[in-house]
Symmetry: C2
Subunit: 198 residues, 2 copies
């Protein structure tokens, strides 16, 4: 039940609608915990049933009405209790690493292309975190209330930098591999049915 707690964590900042939460899960907290709007709406009704949040309808004209959710004292307590429990070490779960694991049974070129896209992605992320850091914490320190958020940004930065550097290394390694292969017996495979060693 970590998505529910992540939502409670968001609502400690300010009351929000499902829509705003969905956007938050696409940004700040979404850097460590992804969720789309369907998941969020479903979870919100559960949290409301449990009494952890309270919905208040705001009538709007020109726009659809919205449901603003606020943490209840029970919700606050639930969040605090959850936070006091040990966390589960997150595992990596990366598609690309599975591809690399089986690199010998797979075409190298598309994996190399993929790695280049990844490099771009991680560089973008890094730049984004850097901008955020400079904007919210220009002198590199945070007021006590925001220490956790600064730490989040810092691990984001460290992670993206490490992964981007690794991508560069991996691209080089694959390039060396496929230029080496041109001189060996490996022929390009077009038809997935053909076998390299049949």
């Amino acid at each position: 039940m970590a998505l529910g707690d992540a939502i409670l964590a968001c609502l400690t900042e300010r009351p929000m609608t499902g829509y705003e939460l969905a956007k938050t899960f696409d940004n700040s907290i979404g850097f460590f915990w992804k969720a789309d709007h369907q998941q969020i709406y479903r979870e919100l009704t559960k949290l409301r049933d449990r009494g952890h949040i309270q919905g208040r309808e705001v009538v709007q004209s020109g726009k659809p009405n919205k449901l603003v959710y606020t943490l209840t004292p029970e919700g606050r307590a639930a969040l605090r209790h959850w936070a006091a429990r040990p966390s589960v070490p997150a595992s990596i779960k990366d598609d690309l690493l599975v591809r690399l694991y089986a690199l010998d049974s797979v075409d190298i070129e598309p994996v190399r292309t993929d790695l280049m896209a990844r490099l771009e992605h991680h560089r973008d992320r890094f730049a984004r975190y850097e901008r955020l850091l400079n904007k919210r914490f220009p002198d590199g320190t945070a007021p006590p209330a925001d220490v956790g958020k600064l730490l989040g940004l810092r691990i984001g930065l460290a992670h993206e930098r490490a992964v981007a550097e690794w991508c560069e290394e991996a691209i080089e390694a694959l390039s060396a591999l496929s230029s080496g292969a041109e001189r060996s017996n490996v022929v390009p495979i077009e038809d997935g049915q053909r076998e390299k060693s049949g």
Copy 2:
């Protein structure tokens, strides 16, 4: 459908039973993709139905019979096609970072304890990867067939090192926070129902 493909990736190494696969997903490939035995058995029947793998029962005495699964040519082709598609950049999904996000609404001490456990965990992982690296690739290079696995180990190492360093930083930051708090108006909270600012 990445678990299915991860299983196919494992089976490129050698034919295996569900039990052996489960152990592999607790080790090597499991460093980037976790799955427990229930998930694996379920996926195996699906893969068999699709004709991507073939099961062969091996009668044993003293032990329960086992079902050894082998990749079919169709399975090999499916893996190759999957690998040629772009991967989805993995997101972090870390419980602990959610806790830090809401650090201001939560008790610091258990989070700090958790961080110390994490530091241990990541140091262990780092050491484990290092041992693996020294054992499988003593001179730091790999034969062409194993380049992907070496790259996997390398990102594992980089990742664990970065996270462990960050843990140290985070522990210090939280220690500074809670020793600062002793001199302010924050009182320890035992009962989750009580509010810090009610």
